[in-house]
């Protein structure tokens, strides 16, 4: 793996407001996902797997949990003397308060951007679940001599689409206007100098929206190309997509697209022992992390590290986050339990597919 001349930037709070159930205590980047990961792990690992060795995490609020998760960046091999991982905490300009959009956020880390020496910058949002082949994206960017390369996913549902001629982007527009199903993804590659000048100019005009006010406006002025992401993509933009995204992991094809031996998803280690199954356990179609004790029944569920499911307890279509305890004979269906939740003996909790019941962090039911 060669080292790349590219800086990675990840917006770790973009979309917080769409998932209030889980982001009241953390940034969306550190929302637990898929038994042992946090959302940011997918972008971080994809970047690292493409040889990007300098990554900035752009934060805005409630990022203690994110800071705790990423630490010094070692699990992603980003504990480096040169480059490595930086948390770009919010930078408040005199009197204006916290930033409102991604342009403000980038203005806030202008020093970091200007001091960096990498020729290119790749920007992405932490709420994108995908194992992106940045290598291929970078190669395409260089081969086409592009100014901006924007990622898209064919067939995905979204609010913006790319009207294209071959790989060339003609317009970023609504689905009807674009007349394609090339769904725009908040992930793009750009020359660092160009990004800096675009941000400075946008700031002068008091623009706030990076996609609408900058990327869209400049389509005609620069060479924009689209990069189609192969494989699984899910944008976490609400409880439903969060729930469905987790449940997607029950499909082998999705797991194979996300978790590749040659491009693994890294995360913070917990040094748990392997999971133990009791004599009466009944597990069917479930993804389970290390450190669990499973003595009850678990169907179609996502079980995070260190969860205990006691005898006679029954889980169906549930997401139980780290260190949850489901006591004997409790019955749960379509429940999302945040970290350290305890469900007392014999309780029954029912959500439904389109409206899963969410139990807040640390609660006892």
């Amino acid at each position: 793996m060669q080292s790349r001349n590219i800086l990675g930037l990840i917006f770790c709070n973009s979309g917080d407001e769409m998932l209030p159930e889980l982001t009241s205590v953390r940034a969306i980047g550190s929302v637990p996902f898929g038994c042992r990961y946090r959302l940011v792990d997918f972008s971080l690992s994809s970047m690292v797997n493409a040889g990007i060795s300098k990554v900035g995490l752009i934060t805005k609020r409630n990022y203690q949990s994110l800071a705790d998760h990423v630490g010094n960046g070692r699990p992603w091999d980003l504990a480096r003397k040169n480059g490595g991982l930086s948390i770009l905490s919010p930078y408040v300009f005199g009197g204006t308060g916290l930033y409102t959009g991604r342009i403000d956020a980038l203005s806030g880390c202008m020093q970091y951007l200007e001091k960096s020496r990498e020729e290119y910058v790749v920007l992405t949002n932490a709420n994108i679940i995908a194992n992106v082949d940045f290598d291929a994206m970078i190669d395409q960017h260089l081969a086409l001599n592009a100014d901006v390369t924007i990622a898209y996913k064919k067939g995905l549902q979204g609010s913006k689409y790319l009207k294209m001629d071959g790989d060339k982007i003609l317009e970023i527009a609504s689905k009807e206007e674009a007349g394609t199903d090339n769904c725009y993804i908040d992930l793009f590659l750009i020359r660092r100098e160009l990004l800096i000048s675009m941000i400075k100019e946008a700031a002068v005009h008091n623009y706030t929206n990076l996609t609408e006010d900058v990327l869209k406006r400049q389509v005609k002025s620069y060479n924009y190309y689209g990069f189609g992401i192969d494989g699984y993509v899910r944008i976490i933009d609400g409880m439903q997509s969060y729930f469905d995204g987790n449940m997607d992991l029950l499909h082998k094809s999705v797991r194979d697209q996300l978790f590749k031996m040659d491009a693994p998803i890294y995360t913070k280690l917990r040094d748990d022992m392997p999971s133990r199954y009791g004599f009466d356990s009944g597990v069917a179609d479930s993804v389970i992390a290390d450190g669990c004790v499973i003595e009850g029944e678990v169907h179609n569920s996502i079980i995070f590290r260190g969860v205990t499911v006691e005898k006679g307890a029954k889980l169906e279509n549930c997401i139980i986050m780290q260190s949850g305890v489901i006591h004997a004979n409790a019955q749960l269906s379509y429940v999302v339990a945040d970290k350290n939740v305890s469900i007392k003996e014999g309780r029954t909790l029912m959500g439904c597919k389109t409206f899963p019941m969410v139990i807040g962090k640390g609660l006892t039911v």
Binding site: G34, R255, L269, S275, R276, V283, D285, I288, A289
Partner: protein, 399 residues
């Protein structure tokens, strides 16, 4: 010279482990996978860190590549330190020539200069082939409180098993008056666990003297301890209570893995105050399908289970396909048990493949001749062909 260190641990990891056959063909015994996600050496290394010992020398000799790679900077055990940390110590060329490590004592003798760099009060000698959790700090405190020259950790074993061990005969105050290696008629049941604390300056003197004796086997048990006893040095037995197992044979390795599944055996690997650390690959969580039945088993990250497990230990990345049965067995990292295969009383090593409908091993209760019954061992990367039958006690490996 760096800051004075209280105690340097020296971990003997050079043994070939020939009794483990195909399992140690390409790796040293301490690097053998254990307990779903660990390797044997994780136990003494984690014990060191949990006991506050941050300077560890790992003496390697036989097939060290995997072990070197595994230990690396020592980061997984928090042993990448500014002062001290973990160091791999293979034999090296010196002015007087080059020698392999001739015995356990000679291995330490050859590394006197390593130990001197830290100028320690005590040296802790450990083996790389035991599964146990032990607070070495307590043992060192015991050693200091007894004003001992050498303290040997002992475990009380059943008298009928005592002839297999090195036995410490002690006075009422736990002082040792005699050491007997594998006595046919043991006077005591205090078995040496191969864990020693020495006052460094004393040990250094005995190592140098021992080296000058051409008759010596340069072994702690055979030479150093008897020499110290002869000189009436203060040797004490430190009684250890808890789980301890030498995993030097196929049977004991299999037993120790099964012990994890036994709730009555006190080897809690999930004790948050005494974690066992390991270097792990970035495996995804494991998946259990609707076709699977899992009873009293251990499953690690990266596993895929669609078959039937009963009393099984599945290591990271192992696969058990639909219709396959794994009972009373140890399936090491990346091994694959294909559809319809039956694996019983077996150790299937790393990346081995058991093809469709093969039958591995058998149950003792169904065996006509218990003498010829035993645990089957399938070596690393070995492929058991479709429908092949492997009888109990067989050992199969490549090359």
């Amino acid at each position: 010279m760096t800051k004075k260190t209280d105690c340097v641990a020296m971990l003997l990891a050079g043994g070939q482990g020939s009794r483990l056959g195909v399992l140690t063909k390409n790796v040293a015994k301490p690097a053998i996978p254990f307990g779903g996600k660990y390797r044997i050496i994780d136990f003494p290394l984690s014990n060191c860190v949990n006991s506050g010992i941050d300077t560890v020398g790992v003496l390697t000799q036989y097939q060290p590549l995997v072990l070197n790679d595994y230990i690396g900077s020592g980061q997984p055990w928090d042993l990448d330190r500014m002062n001290g940390g973990v160091h791999i110590l293979p034999p090296y060329q010196q002015i007087k020539g080059t020698d392999w490590y001739k015995g356990t004592a000679n291995a330490i003798y050859q590394n006197i200069s390593f130990i001197e760099r830290y100028n320690p009060e005590y040296v802790l000698i450990l083996s790389g082939d035991h599964i146990y959790k032990m607070d070495y700090a307590e043992m060192i405190e015991y050693h200091a409180n007894h004003n001992a020259d050498c303290t040997i950790a002992v475990l009380e074993v059943p008298f009928e098993e005592a002839p297999r061990f090195g036995i410490m005969n002690t006075n009422d105050d736990n002082s040792v008056y005699e050491f007997e290696e594998k006595p046919p008629h043991p006077k005591s049941n205090k078995a040496s666990m191969g864990i020693y604390v020495f006052n460094w300056l004393q040990l250094k003197k005995y190592l140098i003297e021992d080296e000058q004796n051409p008759e010596s086997d340069n072994d702690f048990g055979k030479n150093i301890i008897p020499a110290m006893l002869k000189d009436q040095k203060r040797l004490f037995a430190y009684p250890f209570e808890g789980y301890w197992k030498d995993v030097g044979t196929i049977d004991s390795l299999w037993d120790a893995n099964m012990d994890i599944l036994n709730p009555k055996i006190p080897l809690e690997l999930d004790d948050p105050t005494w974690k066992i650390y390991a270097r792990t690959q970035a495996y995804p969580p494991h998946f259990v399908t609707r076709d699977a039945t899992v009873q009293n088993s251990l499953i690690s990250e990266g596993c895929f289970v669609a078959g039937k497990l009963l009393d099984a230990v599945l290591f990271s990345g192992a696969t058990v396909e639909k219709g396959a049965v794994v009972r009373d067995s140890v399936i090491m990292p990346g091994a694959k048990i294909e559809a319809g295969a039956v694996v019983q009383y077996a150790i299937v090593a790393e990346n081995a493949i058991v093809k469709k409908n093969a039958v591995i091993g058998g149950r003792p209760e169904e065996s006509e001749d218990l003498e010829s019954w035993g645990i089957v061992t399938i070596g690393p990367d070995y492929i058991v062909g479709e429908g092949e039958i492997v009888p109990p006690k067989a050992m199969l490996g490549n090359g």
